[in-house]
């Protein structure tokens, strides 16, 4: 490809175009001078050093998959950059890597979570749920004493040397009930006995796993309970309220006799539907998507929240764009003095952190104490943020304030790029200023800014921060059974549905995010198609 262009440049006497120049530079670089080679080797060396370090860490952690990925990526990068060809790859490789890490991986992972029941009560594995249930089911035998404990060892088997309330020493091991033994006492506590080695505190800690499993029956009767220790220096008598049958996969409540079995919902469930929590994480396919679209309590508000989300996004884009455009045109007029200063002033709202601005607006709009009602309106009590309709207007006003400087900047740039000759020619042809703007400037402007308007739409469609910080979706809809409000947009409603109160439903939240992603993506694709048509028109 490069040779072709070189030939073109050589054969044609016409001065080279910008594109040809760039191609020539690329070709020269591919041939590589010494300096470039050094830079290349040094930067690749740094990258490889980091890759090797990452490999060492990953391999020591036995993260085989990640190690393989890092190794493969490192090899591919070396191959690409040491090769004399593969010019496009040299430019594309880094961005593709980032696309994969930050976009594709995130999307796939969200999709995976959406197909699980990951959420409150279903965070771990079945094994973890069982062990947690069993440890919570332990009940200390009522009015039983504390047994001061010394952990002892014989031939690798641990035993408990405890001092009973009468002051006698008793010894037992897992499976062997307590028996009275002769022992050495220190401050009334048995500390050693013949035939056993006493463990020091450090040894106790080093053998934590064995200590946790050390269960010494108090007597031959299992109803008397068994001694367990959690800190290695005191033992207590416990009975268990649950029994786990691993073969059948059931939990039995020993007090009521209820049998809880694994029926494939990710928790032990009794015959009448009662669940034992914690449960565990399972794959549930498309259930979350079905729930998101059919759940009665969500479906009602979903409709008007969706409508408001569209209204909010479209009005926000429209209002910020037209105000920004209007100001850009006004300040683009060379006759205005000191316009640099005005421009700087107009950009200020864009320069403040949005979060701060929103909180300040929330304060300004407070009904009884806000600056707007108290000072500007002389003590009026207008419910800016608490009336369903007015709150929507307030949200749009605040978003206009936050968003117009960006549009102002963009439009100022785009307007300056439109040659003055065009409007001069139109004036000569007798066009009025409004016609010049509508028929010449606006279409040219739209070609440049439409992609930005689409991006702004997508941003506002998911403008969680504004809603969350200004009204938190309020005022609440008193008729809805979920805590949704009149200014909630889809993303803030999803947040409330999936994460309110003590329940976190990551699966449902992920399913909703994917649905929202699909909506935004479809709109963006359709709009971009239309922009292309606009470009061709010109």
């Amino acid at each position: 490809m490069t040779t072709n262009i070189d030939e073109d440049v050589a054969t044609d006497a016409v001065p080279p175009t910008k594109r040809q120049l760039r191609a020539a530079r690329m070709a020269e670089a591919a041939g590589a001078g010494v300096k470039v080679l050094v830079i290349k080797i040094v930067s690749l060396g740094i990258v490889d050093a980091i890759a090797v370090y990452a490999l060492v860490v990953l391999l020591s952690q036995q993260q085989w998959l990640f190690a393989a990925i890092v190794a493969a990526v490192a090899l591919i990068f070396n191959w690409i950059y040491f090769s004399r060809r593969r010019l496009p790859a040299k430019y594309l490789a880094p961005s593709i890597l980032f696309l994969a890490v930050f976009q594709i991986f995130t999307l796939l992972y969200t999709g995976y979570i959406a197909m699980t029941n990951y959420g409150t009560g279903h965070v771990g594995s079945e094994e973890q749920a069982v062990s947690s249930l069993m440890s919570s089911a332990l009940e200390r035998v009522e009015d039983s004493p504390t047994y001061p404990l010394t952990v002892v060892d014989r031939l690798g088997q641990l035993g408990m040397l405890v001092t009973d309330p009468e002051g006698d020493a008793q010894l037992g091991t897992t499976g062997t009930p307590l028996q009275e033994v002769q022992a050495t006492f220190e401050d009334g506590k048995a500390v050693a006995t013949d035939g056993y080695t006493t463990l020091t505190f450090a040894e106790v800690i080093a053998r934590t796993d064995e200590i946790v499993e050390l269960v010494v029956p108090a007597s031959d009767d299992p109803n008397d309970g068994a001694l367990r220790t959690t800190d290695g220096s005191n033992a207590y008598l416990y009975t268990s309220a649950l029994e786990y049958d691993e073969a059948a996969g059931t939990m039995t409540d020993l007090r009521s006799g209820t049998v809880y079995s694994d029926i494939g919902t990710g928790a032990f469930t009794s015959a009448d539907g009662e669940e034992l929590l914690p449960g565990w994480q399972i794959f549930i396919g498309l259930d979350n998507f079905v729930l998101a679209l059919t759940e009665e309590s969500i479906r009602g508000p979903l409709l008007y929240v969706t409508i408001w989300t569209f209204v909010f996004a479209i009005v926000s884009v429209g209002s910020t764009f037209f105000l920004g455009l209007f100001l850009a045109i006004v300040f683009n007029d060379a006759r205005m003095r000191g316009r640099k200063w005005y421009r700087a002033g107009l950009i200020l709202p864009y320069a403040f952190p949005a979060f701060l601005s929103i909180l300040i607006w929330a304060g300004l709009m407070n009904e009884s104490f806000g600056f707007i009602n108290q000072v500007l309106l002389g003590g009026a009590s207008i419910p800016w943020l608490t009336d369903p309709l007015l709150a929507k207007v307030s949200v749009l006003i605040v978003n206009l304030w936050l968003g117009f400087p960006y549009m102002f900047l963009v439009c100022t740039g785009a307007l300056q790029a439109i040659p003055d000759e065009l409007s001069e020619a139109a004036t000569v042809d007798g066009a009025r200023p409004w016609a010049i703007f509508r028929l010449i400037k606006l279409p040219l402007l739209l070609v440049t800014v439409t992609p930005l308007l689409i991006a702004s739409f997508a941003f506002n469609f998911n403008n969680f921060l504004l809603i969350y910080a200004l009204t938190n979706g309020g005022p609440r809809d008193p008729n809805a059974t979920i805590p949704v409000g009149f200014t909630d947009i889809l993303i803030s409603m999803v947040y409330k549905v999936a994460f309110t109160g003590q329940n976190r439903d990551y699966g449902l939240g992920a399913a909703f995010s994917i649905l929202i992603f699909i909506v935004v993506a479809v709109i963006a694709i359709v709009l971009f198609r239309r922009t292309k048509a606009l470009e061709e028109l010109n």
């Binding site: 300096k35 930067s43 990452a54 430019y91 961005s95 890597l97 106790v204 959690t230």
Partner: protein, 410 residues
């Protein structure tokens, strides 16, 4: 040439970051097992970032005494609970985390906490602290501090404590104040701060039994609840306007600090700024609108043991036998200025009249319910109160609240 140098350097930088990101993804899991190899006994503790220094001394002393390394990790208080729930099941969580008792329902439902046996030391703690640390009959938390709200009184304006709610308002009006009493509210209400008044009408949220609060016994909608709603309405927008949902935390604070209001129902976290503003602060019990005692919620702070801890014995020993000592509890008290949960430490701390004031109110406080059903209550409770304050019919609003909560729990 220039373009090429730049792009080569940029590409190098990009790849570097990419590799780091990849290594970082997997490297997150590296720390616990690495430190595990370094020493047989190491305990990782997640601590509210503001209390790391207070705990550092105790951690060092414990290491010296037992040889067990204690690694304190400062965490943002707002994210610590969700992080704990997410990371414990992966095996990468800490052994111990600092937290509050009202997390218990969630932590236990997710199976990420292990029971603690306090043994005989349990009797050394304040009763409210032990009740709050118990969930479904089992103790899961080592308590270190008890927090509750009380009335801050500007003693320069009102020299004497008030005997009842009406007396408080009357005293304030007599002193020439138009808004004598402030309490933090908001567009969605703030039931935590109004709870003492509700309990004065004998309308707790849940009934309780031996195992703690009983989710099946919702008492919110009892006759007392409706009386409370009627009273709240009479003190709202269409009545005396003592309560106003436009008064948020910042406005309440400002009114008290500039002397517009002489009574402020708030917690110990606001005492510092009132004292700094030069106000002669006295701590009073919450004045009751009825003859009954107004009982605020108690929030108990403490430490939880992870159910997946690989150093459970050392971690338990550190918690029960070390953090439960008077010395450590006092150190934590000095960092946070909240009443210690251990009786002996609480007595020492109560030599300060402000702490003593809160402790007196705390003696009547009830632990905030930690059962998961409470989440459903929070969703509807504040909004209903805000509606009542703003003039909605108290009886029907309250009945709807009770019905909504009941439906959400089921």
């Amino acid at each position: 040439m220039k373009v090429n140098k730049k792009s080569a350097a940029a590409a190098g930088a990009l790849i570097t970051v990419g590799m780091l990101a990849l290594a970082g993804c997997a490297g997150g899991g590296a720390t616990p097992s690495e430190s595990e190899e370094a020493s047989a006994g190491a305990v990782t503790v997640w601590v509210d970032a503001e209390r790391v220094d207070a705990l550092q001394g105790a951690a060092d002393a414990y290491t010296e005494e037992t040889g067990v390394e204690v690694e304190l990790v400062g965490k943002d208080n707002a994210t610590i609970k969700d992080d704990f729930i997410q990371q414990v099941p992966t095996g990468r969580g800490p052994d111990i985390t600092m937290g509050a008792h009202d997390w218990l329902g969630e932590l236990s439902t997710n199976g990420v906490v292990a029971p603690l046996e306090l043994g005989d030391s349990a009797s050394g703690y304040l009763d409210v602290a032990i009740t709050a640390s118990t969930y479904d009959g089992t103790v899961y938390m080592l308590p270190y501090a008890v927090e509750n709200i009380a009335v801050l009184r500007n003693a320069d304006i009102i020299p004497e404590a008030s005997t009842s709610f009406d007396d408080m308002i009357a005293k304030g009006l007599a002193a020439g104040l138009t808004q004598p009493f402030v309490v933090e509210q908001g567009a969605e209400g703030n039931p935590y701060h109004l709870y003492p008044f509700q309990t004065a009408f004998d309308a707790p949220v849940f009934g309780s039994d031996d195992n703690g609060y009983n989710a099946e016994d919702l008492q919110l909608g009892s006759a007392g609840g409706e009386q409370f709603a009627a009273w709240l309405s009479s003190q709202g927008k269409n009545g005396t306007a003592v309560f106003n949902t436009d008064i948020d935390g910042a406005i309440a604070k400002e009114n008290f600090l500039n002397g517009t209001s002489a009574f402020w129902l708030t917690g110990p976290w606001n005492v510092g700024s009132a004292v700094d503003a030069g106000i002669n602060v006295a701590i009073d019990p919450v004045p009751s609108p009825t003859g009954e005692v107004a009982q605020p919620f108690a929030g108990v702070k403490g430490f939880f043991l992870s159910s997946e801890s690989e150093n459970a014995v050392a971690a338990t020993d550190f918690l029960v036998n070390y953090l439960g000592t008077e010395e450590v509890q006092l150190e934590l008290f000095e960092a946070g200025n909240i009443l210690p949960a251990l009786k002996s430490a609480a007595d020492t701390a109560s030599s300060d009249p402000i702490i003593e004031g809160f402790a007196t109110v705390g003696a009547d406080a009830v632990p905030m319910p930690a059962i998961p059903a409470m989440g459903s209550v929070w969703e509807y409770w504040g909004i209903a109160q805000a509606e009542v304050i703003n003039g909605a019919d108290p009886t029907t609003t309250w009945q709807k609240l009770a019905a909504d909560v009941q439906a959400a729990i089921e």
